[in-house]
Amino acid sequence: MQYFYKIFLRIISILFCCTIFFLCFTNQALAQNEFKEIRFQAEEGEKQGRYFLTGTIKEKETGTPLSGVSVHIDGFFTGVNSDISGQYVVPLDSGRHRIVFRKFAKTADYYIIEMYGNGVINVELNDLNFQLDVFTVMAEERDRNVRSAITGLTRMSIEEIKLVPAMMGEPDVFNVLQAMPGVNSVGEGSPGLNIRGGQADQNLIMMNEAIVLSNNHALGFLSAFNGDVLQNFSLYKGAVPSYFGGRSAAALNIEMRKGDFEEWNYGLSFGTATSKIMVEGPLNPDKTSMIAGIRRSNANWMLNTVDQYDVRNSNIRFHDIYLGLSHKFSEKNTLDLNVLNTGDFFQFSNQFGFEWNNFVTSLTSKNLITDNFSLVGLLAYGSFNNGFFEPSQEDAFQVDNGLYYLQGKISGLWTKDNFELTFGGEGIQYQMRPETLSPLSGGSGIIPEQVSKQRGMELAPFVSGEWNPHENFALTAGLRYSTYMQLGPDTVFTYEQGLPISGLTRTGEEIFGSGEILRYGGFEPRVSFRWSIDEANSIKGGYSKMYQYLQTVSNATGPTPIDLWQLSTNYILPQRSHNFSLGFFRNFDEDEWSTSIEGFYRMTDNQLEYRDFADLFLNRGLETELIQGEGKAFGGELMIQRNRGALTGWLAYTYSRSLIRTVSEFQEIQVNRGNWFPTNFDRPHIVSLVANLHLGKSRFLNMHANYSTGRPVTAPSANYVVGGIFIPDFGDRNQFRIPNYFRIDLSYLTNGIVRTWDDKFNFSIYNLLGRRNAYSVFYQREGMSRRLRPYQISILGAVFPSITYSVNFSK
């Protein structure tokens, strides 16, 4: 009890400090947008759970029908646009909805509708050409910041993602996320996101709710999600709803676009680093659509220009292919097929190399069963393989790893007035592929070796309810019961009692046949609330408990594409986290400005850490190289965002700590003697500034500045001589920090050269200042001297410019 009291006090103190700052910083609140309220009522006896909203959109001054007007419902773009005659049709669940009609260079039109019958809204939009300086970049409603019921939720569309300058000029989800508060990474060229002090593997990353385990290209500079086929993303970093589970920190769902049901569109893109092709259109008009996107790197020519033999002889390439098929059986029943295939290859000179590939496919069925009840079913298959190789040695070798999984999920949604109930179940079966060592060439003397890996199954029924008893209050509460079973056949080692488990204390092995070997599980309550003080101010809080049974094992500085995925076993216990968050949200000037302050605290049991000099590959007793412990992460986030005007963007500041201590009865295997120490990604201060200057005529000048505290490293505290060798003696793990990080990126988006085409140029400069931001530190003798000298290594030590030309055609 005292423990929870301490946590509560810590959250309150963080929030108090933030609130003081917040109140000093701003002192006014203005009214929201003007929403016109309309009620549609069906005749008695004709009531349904789902109705259609239709209408025509015209230009107010001329009466000309407007095509391409986007229809936003409850804060999100639905994918519905008005057609060439200005008409639109949107199916809506019964109840209260906020509808906004938007088109570039037109004033938006706002409605609150109570949908208890089919309805028609005809809209007339004003021209905005005389006030282009009030351009809006927010895809979601600007007041969503204040009104959404879930704390720690970040949503963004591809249009916004494109406005953040990125490496290689590619609009990238992970790049944008790292500009948001609470999200960072170990360093440049390091895959994975660290969200609110969590490890990269503690994030559940999904594509249309199907799990994606490998999600990066080019050693982490880009995500695996092609911007051409991406719709939007939702990041749950505070309270994760109960219909998501299996990871202990956060959930990120990336929605991919559906193909156009009415016309064929084509997109081509050529850049200095990547090239892309996109095709979408109706296979059967209004019934079946497809979308396909292919992206391929062409960065090797850049390596060839570098005046270093090893770099010039290196090879980096990647590709991703996405295919989406959507079929409408009726307005009530749809079926979507999504396929994502990614591949990466990296070889450094003839010394070493890595390759990894990923395949995820999912089938999603959405069915409206009754008027107020719908079912969504998901069936997914994923496969991930990775390998590293060393071709230069006499015994050239390759080590391969991987796993595949089957995921099934069914969820029902029942709505009634101010209550929404989601319930269902999820099951995932994991099968690790055997880890193999094989000779890379005919002359290699490597003896092929194979280490078998585990199987496991995760089952979780869940229920979640969202209750809006009053306009000013919303409560989301859910419960998930997760169960994990390690499945046979498998061999489990036994170790001597009273000694730390190691290769030397192994006493034998126990062989299990098919069936269950062990079982873990527990309830995972999730709660989130929103209390609106008024239309411009709200307070949100949340709590979630989460279990994690699949984790990566690595002893590298940060996550790598070749990290081993490891299921929970007798010796590797599942992670369990308690996540608390509380935030204050306030908007100004009719939502022109949205601001927020959030605090978070997370405790994690059984967080994995590697022992010193852990030997992870081809190790049958992987547990002997690992140690588990307690993790804690806490901090506060401040976000100030401008949503309208010629200059939009945001300023985000995060104070975040991420600490761990190993727990073992055996002192000799404890890391730092069992004391708390910072994780590799503990970066207390992170500041991001994103600015988008709209210059008119679809031209944008964008800037992203990022500052963060240097990450922890391990440094020597003494040196000694053994056999004539000057050896540094490294002290406690992660007790020092590399220099602070600072980077500015710029991009300029403009129309292309052919007036009649829909073409665009993207000029990007990554690391404008050419700053050599340290990635890590190492020690080496200087010349013939015996003294050790520290050196810093930078992954990207110079300005990185890129140009991309893209063109879209419609038929």
Binding site: E394, G723, G724, S776, R789
Partner: protein, 338 residues
């Protein structure tokens, strides 16, 4: 624009860093090597000094070699923390441990057996040059062709290189004074290269590996010998050196194993928190020697002692030439050129 793109590509990403760390002084360091080579076996005992400096020798320690059969042998202190056991060799089948008493604390290593196997080796050398900016630097490279024994038991090997070169002093005395004896100067070659090889996990038996390289200078004016010691060690000792190598070769890249303290096999059994640095190893040794003379060196080597009006002190004094390296004036018994 194309020029801009080409011109801004990075060319290098490693910089020196002013990076302060806290120095931990006074930690005990013990290193001992016992081989089956008859002669002198030494143990160094010292304590760490400020970071970047050599450890200080511990002169008041008592160092004893323990045999599992019950015998013990005392090492004698010779200089600055170096203790020597003379006229001794490790025997096959026996297990040895080291005991060091320093102050009131007693430190002991684990018992180790002398390995039985070693590998055949053929040593050769070559010269090469490396460009460093505007200048070129010549080097001697020592390589080995190694054939591992056909055996079910794995063999674990490491190598050390020692150079011995002759330095002929100028004679400034009268006709009746005998010329001064020649200097023989000894030093380790490139110990940080730390060549390691094991048969574990491979079916290959023949390997070629580089053992180290050495800058060519006026040490090569006269015969220059390289003594190659192949040390066959235990798996644990091999792992220790492998970890040393990992720490020394850490380049800070994403894929490097983060550095960590290297555990010694020497412990203070009465105080487990008293961490000892260093190692005690027992090795079966195979020795090979190669030599080169100035006639072999494909580079011009200026002699500082000829054509100089005032020859420098090193032309007359072995100590000056040795510059802190070991030296004597006794011709080694293996100093033969045929």
């Amino acid at each position: 624009m194309v020029f801009l793109v080409f011109g801004l590509i990075p060319s290098g990403c490693i910089d020196t860093l002013d990076f302060g760390t806290v120095t931990e002084e006074g930690q005990l360091v013990i290193y001992g090597l016992l081989t089956d080579e008859f002669g002198v076996h030494s143990v160094d005992v010292g304590r760490t000094d400020l970071f970047g400096l050599l450890p200080r020798g511990e002169t008041n320690a008592t160092v004893v070699l323990l045999e599992e059969s019950g015998s013990s042998h005392i090492y004698m202190h010779v200089e600055d923390g170096r203790y020597e056991l003379r006229d001794f060799r490790a025997r096959e089948g026996e297990r040895y441990a080291l005991r060091v008493a320093s102050g009131e604390q007693i430190y002991e290593s684990e018992f180790q057996e002398l390995p039985k196997q070693s590998a055949q080796q053929n040593i050769n050398y070559s010269f090469f040059s490396e460009s460093e900016g505007m200048r070129t630097r010549p080097f001697l490279s020592v390589d080995a062709d190694v054939t591992l024994p056909e055996s079910e038991e794995d063999v674990y090997l490491r190598w050390t290189l020692e150079e011995t070169f002759l330095w002929v002093r100028l004679w400034g005395g009268g006709p009746f004074e005998p010329p001064p004896p020649n200097c023989f100067i000894y030093d380790d070659i490139d110990p940080s290269t730390l060549p390691l090889l094991t048969s574990a996990g491979t079916g290959s038996r023949n390997f070629s590996l580089n053992l180290g390289s050495r800058l060519v200078d006026d040490s090569f004016l006269y015969p220059f010998f390289v003594t190659v010691r192949q040390l066959s060690v235990s798996r644990e000792t091999f792992e220790y050196w492998n970890r040393v190598k990992q720490v020394l070769n850490n380049q800070g890249s994403l894929f490097d194993i983060p550095p960590a303290p290297i555990q010694s096999n020497i412990r203070n059994f009465s105080d487990p928190d008293d961490r000892v640095l260093g190692y005690f190893e027992v090795a079966k040794v195979s020795i090979s020697r190669v030599f080169t003379t100035s006639a072999d060196v494909p580079f011009f080597i200026p002699n500082p002692c000829t054509n100089a009006a005032n020859p420098p002190a090193l032309c007359f004094d072995c100590e000056e030439k040795a510059m802190g390296r070991r030296w004597n004036t006794v011709t080694p018994e293996w100093w033969r050129f045929d």
